[in-house]
Subunit: 338 residues, 4 copies
Amino acid sequence: MIITMKKDASAKELERLREGFDEKGLRVNVIEGEEYNVWGIVGDTAHINDRDILANRCVANVQRVSAPYKLANRMFHPEDTVVDVGGVKVGGTSPIVVIGGPCSVENRDMICRIGEEVRECGAQMIRGGAYKPRTSPYAFQGLGYEGILDMAEARNRTGLPIVSELMSADKIDEFVENVDLIQIGARNMQNFDLLKAVGHVNKPILLKRGMSATIEEWIMSAEYIMASGNPNVILCERGIRTFEKYTRNTMDLAVVPIIKERTHLPIIIDPSHATGDWKLIESVSLAAVAAGADGLIIEVHDHPDQAWSDGAQCLKPEKFQELIRKCRKVAEAVGRQM
Amino acid sequence: MIITMKKDASAKELERLREGFDEKGLRVNVIEGEEYNVWGIVGDTAHINDRDILANRCVANVQRVSAPYKLANRMFHPEDTVVDVGGVKVGGTSPIVVIGGPCSVENRDMICRIGEEVRECGAQMIRGGAYKPRTSPYAFQGLGYEGILDMAEARNRTGLPIVSELMSADKIDEFVENVDLIQIGARNMQNFDLLKAVGHVNKPILLKRGMSATIEEWIMSAEYIMASGNPNVILCERGIRTFEKYTRNTMDLAVVPIIKERTHLPIIIDPSHATGDWKLIESVSLAAVAAGADGLIIEVHDHPDQAWSDGAQCLKPEKFQELIRKCRKVAEAVGRQM
Amino acid sequence: MIITMKKDASAKELERLREGFDEKGLRVNVIEGEEYNVWGIVGDTAHINDRDILANRCVANVQRVSAPYKLANRMFHPEDTVVDVGGVKVGGTSPIVVIGGPCSVENRDMICRIGEEVRECGAQMIRGGAYKPRTSPYAFQGLGYEGILDMAEARNRTGLPIVSELMSADKIDEFVENVDLIQIGARNMQNFDLLKAVGHVNKPILLKRGMSATIEEWIMSAEYIMASGNPNVILCERGIRTFEKYTRNTMDLAVVPIIKERTHLPIIIDPSHATGDWKLIESVSLAAVAAGADGLIIEVHDHPDQAWSDGAQCLKPEKFQELIRKCRKVAEAVGRQM
Amino acid sequence: MIITMKKDASAKELERLREGFDEKGLRVNVIEGEEYNVWGIVGDTAHINDRDILANRCVANVQRVSAPYKLANRMFHPEDTVVDVGGVKVGGTSPIVVIGGPCSVENRDMICRIGEEVRECGAQMIRGGAYKPRTSPYAFQGLGYEGILDMAEARNRTGLPIVSELMSADKIDEFVENVDLIQIGARNMQNFDLLKAVGHVNKPILLKRGMSATIEEWIMSAEYIMASGNPNVILCERGIRTFEKYTRNTMDLAVVPIIKERTHLPIIIDPSHATGDWKLIESVSLAAVAAGADGLIIEVHDHPDQAWSDGAQCLKPEKFQELIRKCRKVAEAVGRQM
C-alpha cells in the first residue's frame, strides 16, 4: 500500500498514523518527494481499507499495490478451480459447458419440454427462473417454490443439472435441496447477507457480475462467498451498463483473460442479458468461446413471442442447436473441447 | 404504447399480436409508414412489459408513452406527499431537513455524543449504520443489533428520530421497533424481496438510488414499496457511477426537479457518498438546497481519521454547523425554510 | 417519426406544428390516447431533427422510427461494400485483413524494419502515426511530415499499403499523396469539418468510433463522409469509455453484428486501444474474428519498453505472428479466409 | 511517480529502467514489499508518460503522485486568474457573469433582437453559433462567416461582448477579428491542433468539457492552450455522458470546487446542454451559483419552437430574466455579486 502524504502534514498526525501501522505489524518506508512525501506500507494490508487511510487529512492519495482478495487470488492458488455441478465439470481444461433454458419457468410441462429440447441441442445444464427480479411490481414475479419443483422434475426427466436464481436467504433450504447450481443475480451481487448465506451451503454458486460492478468488486463478492466457506464459485459476465442503448448492456469480453489471470475461478458468459437481442447472440457467443470462456448460459424458448419474460433475447431451439454446432468449431480452433 | 412493426410481418403474426391486445381490453390504431407500420396501443398499458412485445419477431421497436408507475406518479396524485418521520415532516413545503451522524455506530457513547453534537449543529435526525454493506468481507461489518440499540439510546438522549440501513428482511422487526426511518441502501435498490418486505411495515422508508439505476428504475423501486402498502417513501440521490473517478460517484442534481415533476415524493441528497470527499461536501450541499431538495443526509464524525468507516467523507461537527448555517441562507434565497 | 403530444396542447400550437409537416410533404396520423395523443409522421423524415420537434412545448416525446442515415443504411444498399486499400480488399467476403505496426513512427529505419516484420508475420497493411493526438502537450507529438515520408518508404520496401492518422484538414494533401488509408481518430470522430474534408478526397477512410459515441452517432459520422462524396469508409471499434478502469476502454464487440445489420460498411477491430494491455490482445482478437469482424488493427513494436508511445499495448513481432496463426484457425472455423 | 515492480523482474530490465530515470535527472527510491517492490521516482516527472513506463514488462502498475499539468496548477499559481472578455471580468471575486443567446444565429435581425433582450434581462455577454457541430450532415450547419458578422453587429447594438464556437483552425482570423470569447466545443476538446491554434491568439478561450473527458483530461486541454502561450482560459462544464438518458447529459457540479482547488482558472456552467430540457434549467442554474460557479451560459430564444436548433433547451426571455433574478438572491446568499 502506497500513501501520498501532503508536505504540510503535522508531525503529530504523521506519528499517530505511523503508530497505527506499527500496531498492525506493518513496516513503513518513507520517500521524500518534491511536492509530496510517499509512504510504502509493507506487510499484509488486505485487512486495511484504503478509504479509512484517506480519512486522515494529511493524506493526499492511497494506492493499493496488492489485491484486496486472497482466496480468489491466482497468486496464492495457481491451479485452476474446477467446479462440479451435479457431475458436470466447469473450468480448467474441462469441456466448455452450455446452459440453456427459458428465462422463467411457466409450468411443469413447459420446462420439461424445453429441458429435453436443450439437452438434444447439446446443452449440459438447464436454466429456468422460479423467483424473478422484475423492474416492475406489476410484472410476473415467477412461480416460486412450485417453479423450483418443476425444475427438479425437468432434471429427473433429462438427467441434466439445473440452475436457478436465489433472491432471498429465507428460500435457501429449498434451493439446497433442489437446485444444482445456485445463481446470485446481477442486482444482488452486493447483497452481502445473501452472499454470506450461500457461503455456508454445500452447493456451487453462479455469481453474476453486477450491472455497474468493477471487476475488483465482483471478485470481492466471490471472496465473500469463499470466506464464508464455499470455494465453489463460477463467475458469470452478463454485460455492464454504459451510455450505449442499442444493446441492453455492453458485453465486456476482456474480463475472460483478466479473470483467468487474476483468479483461479471458472468464468462463463451470458450473451442473452449482455445483448438483450436474440439476433446478436450467436455472434457474441462465438466471440466468448474464442476469448477462452469456460461456458455459456443462453435463454432458449420454443415460442419466444409467448414467453412470460425476456422473449426478445430468447433463441428458438433450432437456432440454439446451430449456435452450439458453430461454437464447437471455434472451441476446437482454440484447442478446447465442447 | 407505440409499436414499430416491420413491413414484412406475416398476417398471422400480426393477428396473434392484435388478439393479445384485444384480450386485455386495449385498442390498436395502425399508421402505415413507408419503411415501417406503427401501432398505437390505447388504454392502460402499465401491466404490459415493453420487452415482452419486443419478443415478437415482427416488432422492430417498442416505445412507452405513459410512465410504468402509477402510485408514485404525480399525474395521478398532484399534491406533494409529506412524510412524517417521528414527528419531523419531510417534503412539500416543510422546512428542509438535515440528517447527520457517523457512517457506522462504533459504540454507545460515540453515537450518543455525536448525536448530541449534530443536534446542536442544527440537524433534525441522526444517521448511523449498524449493519454495513462493505465491499470486502474482511472490513468491519457493523455492530448489528447492539448498534441498533445504541442508536435508540441516542434518540432517547437527543429526542431526534434515527435513520439506519436495513440489509436483510430477517432483521425487519428490530428495525420497526427501534428505527424511525428505515434506509434501503444503493446496493439493495433492486433487492425486490427486501422492497416488498418494507412495503408491509408501518414506518417511512428512505430509498437510495442504485449506483447505476436510471431514474425510472428508481421510481419503480419506490412503486414496489408503495404497491405493497407503504406510501411513505423518501427518495435519496447519492451519486451515480460514471467514468469520472476524481469523485467517488457523480452527483446527478437534475434529479431534484425531475423527481418533483414526475412524482409526488420527497427527495433528499447525500453529498457524502456522492463525492466521497469531505472537502467537496459544502459546495455540493449548497447546490442541492438551491436546486430544491427537501433535505440533506451528511456523514459527521468528531474524529474522521479514527472513524471505523468512510472517514474520508465525514465532516467534523464544526464544519457541519457552518454548512447548515450557509445552507440556511441559500434556503431562504430560494424561498424555503430550513 | 412518432410524436407524443400533451393532452393540454392548444389548438393553435397543434395547428402550427401540423402546418410545418404539411409544408415538408409529410402526412400526419393522429391516435387519441388516454394520457397523451400520438402523432405518426409518414414520409421521409431524415432531414427533420428530433430535438427541434421537442422544442414545441406541447410535445412530450419524439421517437424516430426510421434511421437518420441513408447512404450508410443497409436497407437502401443491401450488398456489402468492399473497400479497396491499395489493392487490399476489406469487407464482404474478402479475407480478414490484419494491420500491424507501431503507435508512432520514430524514424525511417524503425518503421521500415517493423514494416518488414509485420509483413513476414502475415499482415496486409502497416500502421504508424506521424501526427499523434496526445493528452499532454509535453508528450511526443509525432514526426509530422517526415514521419509520413518514412511511412511511404516503408510501403516502398514492403509493398504493403499504409495507414496513418490525419488530425487536421490542412495536412490533407500530404495524406492523399502518400497514405493509402486515412485514419480519423476517436477524438476527431465528431470533428465535422475534418469529416467533410475527407469526404472530398479519393482515398478510403478508416473511421474510429469516438470514446463515448453511440453506434448511431458513429454511423452518422460515416454518413458525413459519404454525403460529401466519399463512399469508401471502414469503421473501426476501439473500445468505449465506461466506469471500468481495469482496461483502458471497454471493447464493445456486439457492434460487429449490429454494424453488419444496419449498414453495408466493413468493420475492423482495434484490440490494442480497446484493452490498453498487450496481455489481453490475443484473447480479444480471437473474439473479434469469431464475432465476424472484417479485420484487426494491432500495435506492434520490436522493443515495446522503448516505444515512444503506447508501449504497454504493443505486441512484439513473435507474439503478433502467433496471434495471426491462431486467428486464422478461428477464421476458418467461422467460414472466413484470413 | 510510484512504480510497482514485479518480484520476478530481471536485473537487466531493472537496470535499464533505472538508467532511463538517471538520465532524466530523477532519483529512484526502492521499497521492498512482500508481493511487489515499489519504486518512488523523485523529481519533475511532468514530462514522463505513465503508460510509457507501463510498457516495461517488469512493471505491474504506475501511479502519478503530482499532477501532469503545471501552468494550470493552483499549486504553482495560487491566486485566481481573472479573464477579461471585452471589458467583462470573469473569475476570482468578479461578479458572476451570465451569457445568454440562441443556439444558432438565424439572421441579423434575430440575433440583434435577442441580444437586446438578453441584455435587458441582465446578461453580460451574448452567445450565438455561426458554425454548428451537428450530428447529422443533413441538419442546419450554421450561417458561417455571415453569422459571425451578424454577431458582431449584435455587439455593436448592445455593447455586450460576444461568444461563438470555432470549429476549425482555418477560420481563426475571422474569430480573432470579430469574436470576444472564442469557444472550443465539447466535441473538439481533444482536437489538439485546434487547441494549439487558439493558444497562439490574443483572445480569451471558453473551453467546454468533452462529453466523456475526465477532469484531468479537461485541465490538460487547458494546459495545451496555455503552453502555446494563451493564459486566458475559462473552463465550462456542460454535462457528461452517462447511462442516464432522462437528461441529455449528466451535470457534474462537483467540478466547481474541484476545479477551484486544482487550478486557478474560472469555471462557468452550461445548464442548457447539461440537461437538454428547458424545464430543468432554472433549478440547475441556481445549484451552479450556490456551488460557486463563476458564470452561466444559457440558451435563450424568443420562439423556441421555431428555433433552427436546440429549441428544446432554450429559455424564453421572460423565463431567463426570472432565472437571473432568482440566481442573484442565491449569489448574495453565498457572498457573491451578480
